[in-house]
Symmetry: D2
Subunit: 424 residues, 4 copies
């Protein structure tokens, strides 16, 4: 059976048409995570496996051994899988020599050249395993004319006639044993929060997650910081609310204040949202906004009396979206709706998160971590911030199910709204 | 005459309808930058000024004095200006008492309350200047029942009946003298690179700058890093080229390689641009791409032979956009078009930048600084990066005319293209 | 046998004094990485294991089963291990009920209370597994008076007399199945680059690594950026060289230039290193420094003629430390020693790294990645930068063996030198 | 009189030995900030000035004119000043031709060559001002053999015999007029928060500031985040308290909790401070610590009963240092000492900050901004954080007197303690 990586059901039999190869792995293959990694990669690359034989050391110091049959739908896929898992030390049971092809020009390899890694590598020439010298990643492997030695060479240095290893056969990698990361201050890096990954895909996935949630039974919770307003993106957010994509909003005094400031004065923290210019008297605006709402008793009163008639808080009131504003010591005012006691705010949030199935956290460290602490691991959490550190902290504090997206708030919300409406 | 902040010529006379007030400033008003700041703010806030009298100390330790007439189109504008410049110590020549109004409720000030700063403040009561105690920003000022003392109070603590200072009259601020920043390791902060500002405006301005440049005689130079490809935004960039918004492209081996990798394999650094997933064999892709172009001799040859038929480099070749790829020690390959000698690359860039009037730098620190060093200060430079440090470095290295935009590449290019085409 | 986490040899027999418990795990325990994680944690927490029985599914969809004997030196350790691995679904073969203790006061649990995770949890009461409601991390578990239901409760809300689960017995966790991370744009976060970890330990380890390398046969390579000079820490670095802790230095024109600028003018990029103040004419300094060295033909000539007599480059010449300066397009000058051709610089570096066993990269993204690409995976690499992104990038480019330390250059070098000399 | 940049009183007369030169400036010299900048630089570079003549335009569009006598103690200083202020358009009243010297070798200028900026430049040859072509920073200026034209040239391209401009005479710069920054979304960058500046100096200044404060009447307030504990630096902090350098501590539940966790368990957030390793059961530690303190009623009780006997909170209790722990919604527990109501916490902090003269904020954004809002501008504030964004935000929120130091907590505190004790 062929397990495609996207888990679509497939009905074709793997029997007749699949081709396969037996591989074996030796060493601390379980506790060094090698076997799981190899099995994982086989399926991710479109192959399938069955474990023919396994013997696991009883004690930690004992060596283990496994023999696994890898199958794939065609030769190319199989070779890709074999190359890939070879990097973790998986070696075909039936040995082949590596394939050698003379370079047909200076400064470039033949098309099918083997690309090296930075791991210790051996190639099989005339039945003997030969160690590759000058190990370096992103090179090719050159075999000496007498076929006795081999070394890595960057493509710019290859000369016409040199013997170049091509294809994936007859090559084995001896992975560097990892030292146990937990027992030292040193730790291995697996970059997970990067601003260099393609994001269109992720936003598309968030959009369909939100559409699914809106149609399903789960509630959508948005936790948002004031940058939503500062960056000029509150209209996108307001539209998400009016279109029914928000069931619950958790925020602080600042988000609500600057949202109301924008409604009253067209500014956020005194920066004109339309012209991007700083109106010097702007610092007053948010204070006057808070004061005005305090005079009216609540945000809802301000909406009911027609004083507040646009923005995020307005849409919440109009669309019966429950909002919770939690206080903090840096609040001005605060707005009369703010729950100033942190323990009481937690209690209230705890009640409200029951039934939430999807949570989107935008540009707020404090509230994200606070809410993350309250959510069971089964709730899907997406955390969007321009600062990778926020996402990192969230995961460090235990909310490991978090999906992080390092991007800018304004374009994120703009594109999210696009994607949501496009696909409807 | 009314000087509007955007310097449009204006023909109306300021004579009849303008109202005005005389103010004076005392102290080290020139070398402490106070006078220029005050004059600047007057015009920015929509007012006008004329200097009636000025005496400048001959030596640095001497005090200066200036008397300035501030005029504005209406009372409200004038009061705003006066409040604002009062924060820098500008005091009306004709003195007024401050206006007091009793609080009409607990926990909120009357609508027109005066908002405090964190600078030492005095108010004028019954002709006497009274110092305000407990100075704190974002508060109101309460005057004691006997009108002898005053203090700051946050709005949550005000009680009905307390005397609150309202409006902008009769208030003066005594700014803290700044210590000379250059003579100490300490330095005052004026945030200039922030990811919290509204960006739509800036992108709109870049768009019109580029349209202007395309129609004018100046050339548009784009300096770009590989994140343009990694983030899945090369199609926006390709479109900018094909629509004629790029006259010159400076980049490195990485941008061109990953662009070509995406054309050949649909991946960038082995990450699928469409699915966002990592194809495990992806590390090979960029090497194979470079190797293939090396075999063909140049990117142009690859386009001419139909091997390369999409993407940034393809559009450059097709639209006769000159590109320069400068080498660096981290390059694989490199592509045959790369100028590997840094001094030669500089020389070539130096020639090409002649005639450039607008330069957009996207997601590359090294190339941005290198190109920034070559440009005369008269060239408009916009630097877009998700990392504020890149913009900071550019300015630190002397390219002070740089306009920085801290945002994410993909949405930036998406929105830039929108704005450019929208307004055509 | 007792495998202590720090791999010290131990001769005591585990036989008599160890206590143990049998646990079992069910499900996709291999390809979901659960088994390796469990085995790893057992040893990390000071315990030992032997695998009594294991049956691994032949196909990916088949379920596996393992029975493992966990032993530890005392009851407390054993209980800690059992609690910990319970979070991954490991359940004791012999079942116990959970232990209940009534709260002895309001607002706090009894000392030994069980701390919850955010994973779905069940507790065993009177032989029945009962699901815990309101799952939330960092709470306790309260059992209803009728012992039929249980729920999470934060400590502030507990009331005297409520039944609280204590200890680690009779609790099992049903971990959320992870979706395969490779098949979606979403990815799970495991923070590896954080500025919040204790660093003294890591620096101590680098110090002993460097002492070991100095005494051994391997060479120490330092790759450094100009921030070493800008941050006022070149004297620490110079001392490392003169004390024999550097065999090889790779850098760019900037490091050498600013080092020489400091020797000639006492400034770096025009900032006085001693006073921290900006000497306004400073921009000239680095140009004049380069020009002077160009006039003398090489850095070595400048040292030999007594023109240059302090700093990093001086110490390299004096102590016969090979240095390689690689050019880049942002270089002024450059210094006559700079290899301006990037391919030639790579070739030279490739030769020099042979024999390197330890590589310390300080505050340079470009050079770090370039050198990382050339090193075999067996070389220990430590990357120190104040910016987490540099470390992340290095790992993303394949140099996965990198140990990252997010810290500031100046204090890092100061403390490193301390530690090196302290322990001699 | 000679105004030295460090404002020491000086009694020598400037009369006999000072040399001087008259310069003039034309244009919008006040509102473009040119005059203040020029006057500032003169004194910073060790010179002195007197304003001989000034006429300031009455309206914004009118041009101004100033004539200033610059004096310095020697010719070299005077020339440096003249070069520097020439970059802002200040031109000597008495004109000189520029000095030309033939290059004495290829690839390097004569020692005294003039270094270019990227501003439009003119040089005076034979009495005529000649525009410099190919304007580029960090070059020299070459005059054609017929002395009719001039252009910038990088040092690598100079050829023996070419005429090179040397010294500072006969050169004038025509600064690019700045567009008013406030009227556009564009803004000019002046890097103020950089991790590339020398820090030893700043730490030394903080140390002497704190010694001064301890001896004086003002109180020292420290605002600190939990990273003080996580980074393994609480012992330095505890020592600051026991040595009398802290009068007041503002923090949150997290700092106190992790400090107590370290006392009880030797871990912080479950990370062993001594070994840097993660103790897997560590997540429980901070909960158990809070619970234990809650059982005792207060931190003071825990100290009095001998349960807590080391660390920050312990030293506060022992040394009668008032501490205020403000609650937030992400708190676990919280500790019984935490003020959970944000308005009440603000009120309490407001009372306590009276009399504070120096405030050190370490690694906490929320508390820093909250406290910054409460302090009058006259209080010296130093903000230390590894993340430049925290400092930027503090300044953006109005606490403009803040001095920012972008560095790592652990080495900062280590070095601060060194400096404090060293200089006693």
């Amino acid at each position: 059976m062929n397990h495609s990586p996207d888990h679509k059901p497939d009905y074709q039999s793997a029997a007749a048409d699949a081709i396969s190869e037996e591989i074996e792995i030796q060493g601390h293959i379980i506790d060094s995570l090698l076997l799981p990694k190899i099995l994982d990669e086989i399926t991710v690359l479109g192959g399938d496996f069955s474990i023919n034989d396994i013997s696991i050391g009883q004690l930690r110091t004992d060596s283990s051994h496994a023999q696994v049959k890898v199958s794939a739908k065609d030769e190319e896929t199989l070779q890709k899988i074999l190359t890939q898992i070879a990097q973790h030390g998986a070696v075909p049971v039936q040995k082949h020599d590596c394939i050698l092809e003379p370079a047909d020009m200076d400064g470039a390899f033949p098309e099918g050249f083997y690309c090296t890694t930075n791991q210790k590598t051996e190639i099989r020439i005339d039945g003997n395993w030969t160690s590759v010298d000058l190990q370096e990643m992103d090179c090719g492997i050159i075999v000496s004319p007498d076929r006795q030695t081999a070394h890595c060479l960057p493509m710019s240095d290859v000369q016409k006639g040199q013997l170049v290893v091509t294809g994936y056969q007859g090559i084995r990698i001896l992975p560097t044993a990892r030292s146990s990361p937990q027992t030292s201050g040193f730790s291995f890096m697996h970059s997970t929060v990067s601003s260099e990954k393609p994001k269109g895909v992720t936003v598309r996935e968030i959009a369909s997650e939100m559409r699914r949630a809106r149609e399903g039974e789960g509630k959508i919770l948005i936790v948002a910081g004031p940058a939503v307003v500062h960056t000029g993106s509150r209209d996108y957010f307001s539209q998400l609310i009016s279109e029914g994509y928000v069931n619950l909003l958790f925020a602080g005094n600042a988000l609500a204040t600057h949202d109301i400031e924008e409604s009253f004065y067209g500014t956020s923290l005194g920066i004109s949202i339309e012209h991007g210019s700083s109106t010097e008297e702007g610092h007053e605006h948010h204070l006057r906004s808070i004061n005005r709402i305090r005079r009216l008793g609540s945000i809802k009163n301000a909406v009911d009396k027609g004083v507040l008639n646009s923005g995020i808080m307005y849409e919440c009131v109009k669309n019966d979206v429950t909002f919770l504003l939690a206080g903090s010591i840096r609040d001005d005012g605060p707005l009369p709706d703010v729950i100033t006691d942190s323990v009481e705010a937690q209690r209230k949030m705890r009640e409200l998160v029951q039934g939430v199935s999807f949570c989107l956290m935008i540009a707020t460290t404090l509230h994200s971590i606070a809410v993350g602490n309250l959510l069971p691991a089964s709730v899907k959490v997406v955390c969007v911030d321009i600062n990778p550190a926020t996402v990192t902290k969230l995961a460090d504090r235990g909310t490991f199910q978090t999906i992080g997206l390092v991007t800018d708030v304004e374009p994120f919300l703009r594109v999210l709204l696009d994607e949501i409406n496009k696909s409807e």
